[in-house]
């Protein structure tokens, strides 16, 4: 997973580059929480453009980060969801809390 912080907007973007399952999610979670604590962002965007697979572990990952970021006073958004990833998030209901945003594919 790559991350980029934009100081002026207090915006933190995570570009997830792994498959997201119960195995890989532990590493992603650790890195995300570390960077969130370090930068205290106002907004966090998870970019799914390079995610080739995601199962229910991705739901837990995003809900967990949403709670953490919210506690620190920020918001979370999701970008570049494939149809299958979108279907999984839709089923879980989290899109009612966490909006999908436009982000150019980098």
């Amino acid at each position: 997973m790559e991350s980029k912080f934009y100081e002026e907007d207090k915006l933190l973007i995570f570009k997830i580059t792994d498959e997201i399952d119960d195995f890989s999610v532990q590493k992603i979670r650790r890195k995300a929480d570390y960077e969130i604590e370090r930068y205290m962002p106002k907004k966090v965007i998870f970019d799914f453009n390079s995610v080739t697979f995601m199962d229910s572990a991705g739901i837990g990952l995003i809900i967990g980060r949403y709670k953490f970021v919210k506690m620190l006073g920020g918001t979370v958004e999701l970008a570049n969801l494939t149809s299958s990833i979108r279907k999984i998030f839709e089923m879980s209901g989290i899109l009612r809390l966490i909006p999908i945003t436009n982000l150019e594919v980098s």
């Binding site: 498959e19 399952d21 119960d22 195995f23 999610v25 979670r29 697979f53 995601m54 199962d55 229910s56 572990a57 739901i59 837990g60 990952l61 809900i63 967990g64 149809s83 299958s84 279907k87 999984i88 089923m91 879980s92």
Partner: protein
């Protein structure tokens, strides 16, 4: 022309989460004999990942055990059985409910069974407390049927 593909495979591995990707990729490779669409393959991969992860994190918890997969192809359907000899499920109806999880502290969302049911055509769960759990999932691979139908149509048109 109809080709009668019938095939079977078995896979056994230790309950380590590093094997989740191995399991879903192997089943998807096997399923590709039925000429599924990319979307159908993605659905199969996701459902297998859910069932295998459940065996590892719920069935065996932190203990080590064996996860078994038995997959069968008929002419246009894949049937996948995924089983563990772990702790079993007390109430299957409750376990299948969306958002029901016994491990919320581990950031589980309780959506595994819901995802399996929506991505596959049929999901059956058998479980005995203390003996283990077996999930049987079936999916008709439509791509093949559709292709054959359109071939037939084409033949009809050319005959006329």
């Amino acid at each position: 022309m109809k080709s009668e593909i019938e095939n079977e495979m078995k896979l056994e591995f230790i309950s380590k989460s590093a094997n989740e990707a191995f399991a879903r990729i192997t089943v998807a490779a096997f399923a590709s004999q039925l000429d599924p669409t990319i979307e159908e393959l993605a659905d199969i991969k996701t459902a297998v990942s859910e069932a295998v992860t459940n065996c590892i994190i719920h069935g065996y918890d932190k203990k080590q055990g064996i996860v078994k997969i038995f997959a069968r192809l008929t002419e246009n359907e894949i049937i996948i059985e995924i089983s563990d000899k772990g702790k079993g499920i007390e109430n299957i109806d409750i376990a299948k409910e969306p958002l029901y999880t016994t491990k919320p502290n581990l950031e589980r969302s309780g959506m595994g069974f819901t995802i399996m049911e929506s991505f596959m055509d049929k999901v059956d769960v058998e479980s005995v407390v203390g003996l283990g759990t077996k999930v049987t999932m079936r999916k008709v691979i439509k791509n093949k049927v559709e292709n054959e139908e359109s071939d037939d149509e084409f033949e009809m048109i050319t005959k006329e």
